[in-house]
C-alpha cells in the first residue's frame, strides 16, 4: 500500500510538472468539444443549385423561389440549356441541376401533370442523396400547394394521399449536437485512456527507468495500478469538464442521472486503460506505441457508431462492434443522455465492459515481465 502511495505521488508529480501534457490533456479536448460538434453536423446545407428553366412562367419562378428560400439551396447557376448547366457541374460550381421543361405551367394546368428533371453530382454521396431528397420534398410540397389552389372547391380530394406524419422521439428537434457531443466526449476520454497511458510506460522503457523499477521489490500489479490510477483520475476529470461544457455551451442535460454515466465511465476507463497498458507491454518505443494506439483508436472510433449507425453496417462489421468497448460507451452515453436510461437498462453494457476490463488488464499483467528472456 505504501509502495503504491509513492508510485502514485511520483506519477502525479510528473504529469503535473509537464506543461505540455497538461495542455494536451485539458485544453485540446476542450477546444475539440467546442469546435467539432458545430462543424461535424449531418445536416446538408448550402447545396449549390443550377436551374435550367425553359418555361419562364409564374409557376416555374414560384417554384424556384420556394426552393431557394428553404435555406438548403443556393442558386449558383442559371443556364439556358442543359449542356451549359452540366458544364457548371463539371466545373464544380453546382451540385445539382433542376431542369424545368417548357410548357411546364401549361401542362400542369391543362393536364394536371408535368415532368421535372433532377440531375445530381454524386461525387459526395451523402450530399447528393440528401440534396435530391430535400429537393423532391420541396417540389412535393409545392405540388400540394398548386393542387390546393386548383381543387379547393372540391369537397373531396380526387387523388387519395397517404400523409405520413413522423415524430422524433428522444431528440424531438433532431438536434445533432445532442447526438454528437456525448459521442465526441467518449472519443476524447478514450484517447486519454489508451494512448497517454501506453505512451507513459513506453517512455519509462526508453529512458531506462523501467529497469530501475524492475530491479526493485515493486510488484507488477502495484506498478500497473500505479500507472492506471493517475490516468483514470485524469480521464474522469476530462469527462467532468466535458459534461460541464456540454451543459453550459450546448445546454445538454442528461435525461438520466449523471451517476449512471460516471458508474459506467469508471468501468469503461479501467478497460480502456487496460488496453493502453497492454499495448505498452508490446511496444518498445513511443513511436511504436503512438502508431499502434492511433490505429486501434481509429478503428474503434469509426466502428463505434459515432459517425455512422451500427445497424447499417454490414453484418461482419456489426460483429466487430461487439468487441469494441467504445461502441458500448457511446450507446450508453446516448441512452442516458437522450432516453434517460438507468443502470438497469444498461445492465448488459456494464457486464460486457466488466468483461473487457478483466480481459485487457489480465492480459496486460500476464504480459508485463519484470524479468526478460
Amino acid at each position: 500500500m505504501r509502495t503504491l502511495k509513492f508510485l502514485l505521488r511520483k506519477e502525479l508529480l510528473q504529469i503535473f510538472r509537464d506543461p505540455a501534457i497538461f495542455r494536451i490533456l485539458f485544453i485540446m479536448p476542450m477546444v475539440q468539444l467546442l469546435i467539432l460538434p458545430l462543424a461535424a453536423d449531418y445536416e446538408i446545407k448550402n447545396i449549390n443549385l443550377g436551374v435550367v428553366d425553359h418555361d419562364h412562367s409564374t409557376y416555374s419562378r414560384k417554384m424556384i423561389d420556394k426552393i431557394t428560400s428553404s435555406g438548403y439551396f443556393r442558386l449558383r447557376d442559371y443556364s439556358a440549356t442543359y449542356t451549359q448547366a452540366l458544364h457548371a457541374i463539371e466545373q464544380d460550381k453546382t451540385d445539382l441541376i433542376l431542369e424545368i421543361p417548357s410548357q411546364f405551367e401549361r401542362n400542369l394546368v391543362k393536364e394536371s401533370e408535368s415532368d421535372l428533371l433532377i440531375s445530381v453530382n454524386a461525387i459526395n454521396g451523402v450530399k447528393a442523396g440528401l440534396g435530391a431528397a430535400y429537393l423532391q420534398g420541396i417540389i412535393h410540397d409545392y405540388n400540394q400547394e398548386i393542387r390546393m389552389e386548383w381543387i379547393q372547391n372540391l369537397r373531396f380530394n380526387p387523388l387519395p394521399i397517404i400523409d405520413v406524419t413522423s415524430t422524433n422521439w428522444y431528440n424531438p428537434n433532431m438536434n445533432y449536437r445532442v447526438f454528437m457531443v456525448p459521442g465526441i466526449l467518449v472519443m476524447l476520454v478514450t484517447m486519454i485512456g489508451s494512448s497517454f497511458a501506453s505512451n507513459n510506460i513506453v517512455r519509462e522503457k526508453e529512458m531506462g527507468t523501467i529497469e530501475q523499477i524492475n530491479v526493485s521489490p515493486i510488484k507488477k500489479t502495484q506498478f500497473i495500478i500505479g500507472k492506471l490510477v493517475p490516468f483514470w483520475i485524469l480521464a474522469i476529470t476530462v469527462l467532468t469538464l466535458g459534461l460541464i461544457l456540454a451543459r453550459l455551451v450546448y445546454g445538454i442535460i442528461p435525461l438520466g442521472h449523471y451517476s449512471t454515466i460516471y458508474f459506467f465511465a469508471s468501468i469503461y476507463l479501467v478497460a480502456i486503460l487496460g488496453l493502453g497498458l497492454l499495448l505498452s507491454t508490446y511496444a518498445q518505443t513511443q513511436q511504436q506505441s503512438m502508431l499502434v494506439s492511433f490505429f486501434v483508436t481509429m478503428i474503434f472510433n469509426l466502428l463505434s457508431g459515432l459517425y455512422t449507425p451500427i445497424e447499417s453496417m454490414p453484418q461482419w462489421a456489426q460483429v466487430i462492434t461487439w468487441f469494441n468497448p467504445v461502441s458500448y460507451f457511446i450507446q450508453v452515453m446516448r441512452m442516458v443522455m437522450l432516453k434517460g436510461s438507468s443502470l438497469a437498462d444498461i445492465e448488459h453494457h456494464i457486464l460486457a465492459m466488466l468483461g473487457f476490463a478483466i480481459f485487457f488488464n489480465g492480459w496486460a499483467i500476464l504480459n508485463y515481465r519484470k524479468r526478460s528472456g
Binding site: R2, T3, K5, F6, L7, R9, K10, L13, Q14, R17, D18, M207, G208, T209, E211, Q212, I213, N214, V215, S216, P217, I218, K219, K370, R371, S372, G373
Partner: protein, 248 residues
C-alpha cells in the same frame, strides 16, 4: 578462515538462440568485497549482472545472491540489492529530493528514515541548495553520484554497478570511487563493471570476461604477477587480444 559469500555463481550460462552471451561462468564474491567485473564491450558482463539481479533468467547453471536463488527467489533478491544501470536511470523530470524519497519509499523506508536519508545525502553530495532542482539540470558527474547514493539508499547487502563512471571526468571518477570505498566500509558488497583499468586496480579482486567466459580471476596484484606485466591495462590487453567476438 572462510568468509561469508554473498554471491555464488556456478556454471551460469545465458544463451540467446544460438548465441551464448554468458558461457559457463563460476565465481564467488565475499561479503564487503569490491569485486571488479571486467571485459571488452560485448563480452557478456551486463548479461551476467542482469541474471544476478533477477532481471534476466539464466539458461542453465545455478546462482545465489544474498543467500537467495536467482530462479525462485528473485523478488527476495531485489529487496537486498541495489542496482545502477549503464543508462542513467533516475527520473530526470523529478527533483533531487523527489527522486530520493521515491526510491527510498519503494524500498520500504518510513517517513522519518526518508527525511534523515535525504538530508544526509544532500550534505554528503554537496547538493544543499539544489534539492529542488530537476535532476535533468545537474551535471553528469553529480547525477552519477546521486544515482549511486540512491542505489544504496536502503542499505542493501550488495550493490551492482554497471559501468557507473562512463563518460565522467577523472575528478568526478575519483570522488565516485571514494564513495564506493565508503559504502564498502559500511559492509556493502560492491559488484562493479568497468572499462577503466585504473579503476580495476581499486578493486579487491577482478574477473576478466572474454567471449562470455571468465578467463582470469584474482586480485589485481596477483594478476599482474601472473601475466608478468606492470599494469592491469596490459593484463587486459593480453586476454582481450584473443577474443573471437567482434566488439559491439
Amino acid at each position: 578462515m572462510e568468509t561469508e559469500k554473498v554471491i555464488r555463481a556456478k556454471e551460469l550460462t545465458k544463451k540467446f538462440g544460438a548465441f551464448t552471451a554468458v558461457d559457463n561462468i563460476s565465481f564467488e564474491v565475499a561479503k564487503g568485497e569490491i569485486f571488479g567485473f571486467l571485459g571488452a564491450n560485448g563480452a557478456g558482463k551486463t548479461t551476467a549482472m542482469r541474471m544476478l539481479c533477477g532481471l534476466s533468467l539464466p539458461t542453465s547453471g545455478t546462482a545465489s545472491v544474498a543467500g537467495f536463488d536467482v530462479y525462485k527467489e528473485s523478488e527476495a533478491i531485489k529487496k537486498n540489492i541495489g542496482y545502477m544501470s549503464q543508462k542513467f536511470s533516475l527520473y530526470e523530470d523529478l527533483t533531487v529530493t523527489e527522486n530520493i524519497s521515491f526510491y527510498a519509499g519503494i524500498y520500504g523506508l518510513n517517513d522519518r528514515q526518508i527525511k534523515e536519508k535525504t538530508s544526509q545525502l544532500l550534505a554528503q553530495l554537496h547538493l544543499v541548495g539544489e534539492e529542488k532542482s530537476l535532476v535533468r539540470s545537474l551535471p553528469l558527474g553529480w547525477k552519477q553520484k546521486l544515482a549511486f547514493s540512491i542505489a544504496i539508499v536502503h542499505d542493501p547487502a550488495i550493490v551492482f554497478l554497471d559501468e557507473p563512471t562512463g563518460g565522467v571526468d577523472p575528478i568526478a571518477r575519483r570522488e565516485f570511487w571514494s564513495m564506493i570505498y565508503a559504502a564498502s566500509a559500511r559492509g556493502i558488497t560492491i559488484f562493479v563493471t568497468t572499462h577503466y583499468m585504473d579503476e580495476a586496480e581499486y578493486c579487491d579482486r577482478v574477473s576478466i570476461m572474454v567471449d562470455g567466459r571468465i578467463d582470469a580471476l584474482d586480485s589485481p596484484m596477483n594478476l599482474m604477477k601472473e601475466f608478468e606485466v606492470n599494469s592491469m591495462d596490459d593484463v587486459f590487453l593480453q586476454l582481450a587480444r584473443n577474443a573471437q567476438r567482434i566488439e559491439g
